[in-house]
Amino acid sequence: MDPQLTSQMQKQMETMFVQGMDQMMRNAQALQHFGTTLKSGLEGKQMADNAMKQYLEMMNLPTRDDVARILTYLQKIESRLIDLEEKVEDLADRVKPAEPVRKTATRKAPRK
């Protein structure tokens, strides 16, 4: 086949593909359909996740939520410690260090 003709056909196909995809990505109906399909897929995933969660609970094994709960507690403790650190730093900034007491030199009267 003529290489020039092949190249022209390739370019035309590429242009058609690009234009078609761009139009689809901006078409309200297509996007609504994607949204519906996405929602259905996610609901299916939710069912599978719930089934796995029930199985793990039945086997007395920790679920993802259990792990997340522990990590959240740890994060809250860390956050409180950081808040306390900040308060201590602010307090330390407010307290001015006491100036050292200067001893004035005294001269004893010379013994006669």
Binding site: E14, F17, V18, M21, D22, M25, R26, A28, L31, Q32, F34, G35, L38, K39, L42, E43, K45, Q46, D49, R64, D65, V67, A68, L71, T72, L74, Q75, E78, S79, I82, E86, E89
Partner: protein
């Protein structure tokens, strides 16, 4: 290998070209985090020396080591996006905004948000601003001994930075907004996709739980501009035997594929409050009960948009010019969303404008 010269040279070259092309396409697709870290090291990504001066949870506050006697007193805190890793701003040697700022004598700090864990399932956008960004800014001010800082926000990180500056204008001396969307109503294809009737945000958050997987967040980005995506692959095939070109491509591709999960409440805020309700422009965003209105930002702002930005069109970014309370200097780079900081020679103009503004 061509025993006895049985295989024609041009066929061998074509096979070599195709093999190299396939290798480049696939090296990031199925890479594990460890493999990607190895690839980052081999390519020399994120090269500018730094120290971790503060860390909290997955977050690290990085201070970049100065290369000359510091000339500028006000430190700069860079707030990157939550969607991607920060090192696009420090991609490679001489392809790095951070390296440029350090070389210009700026005390440069960056928040590395890290890889969120399950405990991030309680963090909304206001927590990123009112807790994490506030704490990092405090650390920068205390450790540098300066009462005010300059802030550079990129993409969604710029939205966080704007909210911080709105709530704490007394702490911000100057601001740079790098392709930061403000008006989400007419924000291109992403605004269409995330409309209430098209994007079941409650089902998404309810299904994924605490973290939205990075693969889900990034799944559609290549379809934002199909023509540009096709051109990228064509250009790669054409230049696949050019080492400099393929190294640059591999660097950006590694960063693009370094997907991180997104905290579910923050993701909901981004979609529902920013995209669907356009609260930032309307002045309805809050940070722990305090309103975050753009008009409360009084510092000078350099607002940089990208003319060919397929993620946040120019009109979504330039809306800040009329909303901010302080003076706004506006520059529209003739580049795309990321190429304003990585593409040669356009990135040099971006770097120059940023460093000149902050001086």
């Amino acid at each position: 290998m061509n025993p006895g010269g049985l295989i024609p040279t041009d066929v061998l070259e074509q096979v070599n070209r195709d093999a190299r092309y396939t290798e480049l396409l696939l090296q990031n697709l199925a890479a594990t985090p460890e493999q990607r870290a190895g690839l980052r090291d081999r390519l020399g990504l994120n090269p500018t020396p730094r120290d971790v001066v503060y860390s909290e949870n997955s977050l690290e506050l990085l201070r970049f080591r100065p290369t000359r006697k510091r000339l500028h007193k006000t430190p700069i805190l860079i707030v990157p996006s939550l969607i991607c890793r920060y090192y696009v701003l420090d991609l490679m040697k001489e392809h790095s905004l951070i390296e440029h700022l350090v070389d210009q004598g700026y005390d440069t700090w960056v928040i590395d948000w890290g890889v969120p864990g399950e405990e991030h399932g309680t963090f909304a956008l206001e927590d990123y601003v009112g807790t994490f960004l506030r704490r990092c800014a405090r650390q920068v001010m205390r450790k540098s001994g300066r009462p005010r800082i300059s802030v550079l926000g990129q993409c969604l990180g710029g939205v966080l930075a704007l909210m911080y500056a709105a709530v704490h204008p007394e702490h911000v001396e100057r601001m740079v907004c790098l392709t930061v969307p403000v008006d989400f109503e007419d924000a291109g294809v992403l605004a269409l996709w995330t409309r209430k009737e098209n994007y079941p945000i409650d089902t998404i958050v309810g299904t994924f739980g605490n973290l939205i997987p990075g693969e889900f967040v990034h799944a559609w980005f290549r379809l934002l501009d199909v023509k540009a995506t096709v051109q990228t692959y064509k250009r790669l095939y054409k230049n696949v035997l050019d080492e400099t070109f393929t190294r640059n491509y591999a660097a950006l591709d590694t960063w693009l594929n370094d997907k991180i999960p997104f905290a579910a409440p923050a993701f909901r805020d981004m979609i529902a409050h920013l995209y669907q309700e356009n609260r930032l422009l309307k002045g309805a965003m809050c940070v722990h009960g305090q309103p975050a209105e753009l008009s409360a930002i009084t510092c000078p702002i350099l607002n940089i948009a990208a003319q060919h930005d397929h993620v946040f069109p120019e009109r979504a970014v330039s809306a800040l010019n009329d909303q901010a309370g302080g003076p706004v200097e506006y520059y529209c780079a003739p580049t795309g969303h990321v190429s304003c900081v990585v593409l040669f020679p356009q990135r040099l103009e971006t770097y120059r404008r940023i460093s000149a503004f902050l001086a």
